[in-house]
Symmetry: D2
């Protein structure tokens, strides 16, 4: 196996999820490459050391620019807040490193375009961590759609519901809560949660044509963790939008952090001429499938326990009936990335693929302001 | 339509359920006969009058012997406690009336045999109200099994769980609580709840070969409503048994009134070589079906919403998606009884059919005492 | 009991559902009034006779104007296509009859205003059959909201999904399929299905402020049953809209007849500060409830089997665990209407209440054309 | 961190599951010890090498006796077929190694007693891999029971259903299918699947008093992979038993490999005076909980998504709503074992704890032959 030397920037939730993916992938997948945990970069030396010790990174850096320049690093993995992705990616591209970037790609479409331009110029392998494509049940959905099992698509509906920011006492900003700070995050649920829904939708249902959105910020002011002052909240707490896809289907999307009772309820449903599909992150190992071609009296929604050897990725894990979890999506994404190295068809989504999601987010936020339909910019 | 003049004995829960069946059946089913609510009999004149007014019975009786003798009555419907079924049925048979009897048929097998003998001698149409055969989803299960969709049967498991007698303060006996009084009920959950499970099982899976049971009475003494004294509880609060069927399948049955959280959870599951079936009274309009012959990657339990026009009985009700409830099983049973009049194949279960369930109950109670396997008497 | 003499116009699906309600209500509810099935009116004498025989109507009419004039009729029940509601209601109001009208009230808001004006001038009791308010689980939801269990409401989402018009071979128009004919129905899913969702939403969540909608007609032409020609389809096959309520909550609504796998999937969910509620017509006897005030480690969505004696309406039916069905909502609505007679607070929704739903539908259809937010006219 | 040098014997399904546990535990748990993958032992040198490469073992052995003697090994982990556990454990105990043993502990009670005696004589830390105790939802169940939330227990019911041996073409014996060979496995579903159910039941509900069982072998003969001949099948394909616990509760247990539609459906339910609990391996991240002390109108089964930071083990993983899978139970078991080293209370189940399960299995198999109740030997 060829070593692939990883330099990770960021040590939060995603830093852990990615590191776990790098560490486990070769235990379960036969691959040409083996990730080597070369260096972790964090501004705090203590945190970097602690993370390195826990995960087995060989070295640390406290300045990401140094990491990017190191010759013993093949791949830069960006796990920092959204407002830092572009700068790091541009530098890494310039340094000729492969780049993995946590989602969303960028703060907005124009920034994303610069990143795509730079990375394509440098020609390095790249990928954005839209990990839900690698839930076996979601990958199975893709497979069924590609086989034509659904026929013409009439409807797509997705939502991503959470309830963790209902308390007005919750502050914004800083290391832990940067997702609530518009300066670091760019937007609220749109970039954080709907971006996932949009990425999956593009993958499964093709391009968006236009959108019509509304957003809301329920709690108008929160204390800021860094300034210590009560400041206006700039993010969207909730966002819902209507959409029309290029294939003629109608869609509804919704996300909020104010849906009491839901922790991370990402669901999507697709209704086709012949069959329908439903999936739910809270039971991610199942796919609901309805096929109208079944005999009438025994027609019903099938609850598929996606744990058989012939289900996507599952032949690499345990035995039928034994479910995997959230973290495995990152293992699969690493596996696919490594399989894609040197192949004609690299693992998706690339930076370019992920730019399309930025265009949709831009149109959504624009529509929420204009109160009317906004066309989605086409990806070239 | 020919009138069929009903004389109902008993005015409790079942008196209401049956009356509703008689009143509604012709609104929804095209039949040759029309039940006419001729008379209701109750020992209390006030209660009889009140019931007659509510349901539209033309007259009342306070002595069931008089009712049985009335010439303007075609059919006697027995809705009284278990210990009175035999006496009434024998008199009604002698008087040449058709007889419907609430389940269980009798206090035990030998008593049931006398009833069957008498009624078959008189040659009158007869039926026992094992109403769950007429839940559309259960009837669909029967249809699927008869079509051979399941193949060889390996396993049958049924349970009927309730939780309404957990309080030691609950008294036993009298009008409302005769089911807790062994003198009136004969047994506890065995005759009350397991009898339903057994009847369905015989219908779907054929004859029992032998059983091995345990019973328990958790609350040993309760105040008696009639005597006013604290008396020993004679019924079984819970009963579970292993069984072997004549077709070689293995089975487990369980019933209790001490399963916190379950109101009337009657469920059964059948595992066949090719397919399996599951049903649940708490969602009685659904049937769960798994067919191994489905394509592997999309194999799963199908949740069939049994509300289509081609599902059993459902073409007579509303439109797809609109569920019916518990009471409709009695409407169906009346419809089937009326359809069976004058036909070669009368509606099931007849008294003879229902005697088989008594044999199983007898063996269960015997085994609970002996602590070993007991053979089930064969129905001739 | 006082007789209340019913004159029914129309003999279709709703004619049956209402008749069943009238016939059953006194068997299960103690009321001052008793509906008497006096006359059924249909243009076809044969159909009127057949319906009368099946349901026990004493007489028939073939001209609704004659029925409205009959002195032996107290109440006119309108079960005809939407485009006839206004004319009949105006005549019945003039004749001083009580009026029950199938939903939606009218073809549009202005027509509804005339109806409300006329009926309020005549001062007769009136009600529109938005029957889902009387599903016990939905009534329970209303009770929980009124008790303040949810706190401030953040989100409301509803959908009503069907799949019965996917085939292009299905014709439009005539007796059976007037719902597909824009001239008879006024609109497609908006007036047929979303009207239900809107009525429930107003009841549970208060007034709409504004809406932003899209509609689609997937099959552009269908053969017309009456003209025999292939004609343009004028109805909306699907409609989705964003909404903002006066209480500050955000909402999404969607309806379609192209959602493969769903027969009549009406669902709604409400997310409040403290608690959330979910309901689903396919399992109408259950209410899902999440209460954040539960102890953290045992917090979860509760599946409430709404069949206990202390649940709305359920004390009048069977015993805990035994579910009722779709048709019972009409029985409840009759019971409530009869209870409201002579009381200060009549049963809801009255014609005036139902007019508010027309205003929302009008705004939805207007927005679907304008592509922007439309304010909902306020009910005075 | 102190290194703990692992010597693993066996490279199959369990060899992988345990290795993954050893490798991951320090990434997620703060512990005093760190497992070091020192050596893997397999009879086939190729397989040992391949496994070592995949999992990062430093060395290999092909004779387990050599491994047991190696001075650079602290802990022997036994992942071989059941009939080899005793011999290896006795040798390892003699060599003073810590021992982890895959379940079931032994072929039967007497053999298990020898193992317990030897290991307790040597005084080394030991544990048996009954991993389902470490499913967070199951651990939560234990916590709720220990807190007294359920009150007096009335009922316990468990089943473990699979469907992978229905085909008569499936051979028995050899590396992959030793579980079907009675000489290697000792029994069929009893030792393989029911042993899990029994271990959990003892943990949650205390000791068994007596059992009454039936077993069945549906396919009587299968080709043997090693001898190549069609041989009699000696294992039980299915086993069901009634049980009484020392706490007075009644129980039913069932396991089969002939339940079409179920891959690994291990479920248990416990009904207490105040509350009930249900769990299901197919959705292992959920616990169903019903509490009768909830307000009546909103009482219902709660579906607890066991993914919050205050749920057992879950604070060490991701964020609320993101589920873990099967393999994590082994990580938790390693963590608990390491935490127990040097503590007064070692991680359960120890060899002695696991011996109790053998006693139950022995009584079950004895009862299946005798056809009557058999007392379970008490653990001293």
């Amino acid at each position: 196996m060829k070593p692939l030397r990883i330099g990770l920037i960021g040590y939060g939730f995603m830093g852990r999820a990615h590191s776990n993916g790098f560490r486990k992938v070769n235990n379960f997948f036969d691959l040409e490459y083996q990730p080597v945990l070369k260096a972790i970069c964090a501004r705090s030396e203590d945190k970097a050391k602690s993370f390195a010790a826990k995960w087995g990174y060989e070295s640390i850096e406290t300045d990401w620019r140094k990491l990017v320049e190191r010759e013993d690093i093949d791949l830069i993995d960006i796990c920092t807040p959204n407002n830092t992705h572009a700068e790091i990616a541009l530098a890494a591209a310039k340094a000729g490193k492969m780049i993995l970037c946590e989602k969303p790609l960028s703060m907005n479409g124009p920034e994303g375009e610069k990143m795509v331009k730079a990375i394509e110029k440098s020609g390095v392998p790249n990928m954005v961590w839209y990990n839900y494509r690698r839930v076996p049940a979601v990958t199975l959905a893709k497979q069924l759609i590609d086989e034509g099992k659904l026929g013409r698509i009439f409807h797509y509906r997705a939502k991503f519901l959470q309830d963790w920011t209902i308390s007005p006492e919750l502050p914004q900003g800083g290391t832990a809560l940067w997702r609530l700070d518009v300066k670091a995050a760019g937007s609220g649920v749109t970039g954080d949660l709907l971006a996932h829904c949009i990425d999956t939708a593009i993958w499964l249902n093709g391009s968006f044509d236009k959108v019509n959105a509304m957003t809301e910020t329920f709690i108008k002011e929160r204390k800021h963790n860094i300034t210590g002052k009560v400041e206006k909240v700039g993010i969207d707490d909730a966002c819902a939008f209507l959409a029309r896809f290029s294939n003629g289907s109608l869609a509804t999307f919704e996300s909020t952090r104010y849906a009491r009772g839901h922790k991370a309820l990402y669901t999507f449903e697709i209704n086709g001429e012949h069959a329908s599909i439903f999936w739910d992150l809270h039971d991610l190992h199942r796919l609901q499938y309805f096929d109208h071609r079944d005999q009438g009296i025994v027609r019903g929604w099938r609850s598929i326990h996606v744990t058989d050897g012939d289900h996507p990725y599952m032949g690499n894990w345990w035995v039928p009936g034994l479910q995997i979890g959230y973290e495995h999506t990152f293992v699969h994404q690493v596996a696919d990335f490594l399989r894609g190295l040197g192949n004609e068809k690299p693992a998706s989504p690339t930076f370019r693929d992920a730019l399309e999601t930025q265009y949709v987010c831009d149109a959504v936020l624009k529509s929420a302001k204009s109160g009317r339909w906004e066309k989605v910019k086409k990806l070239k």
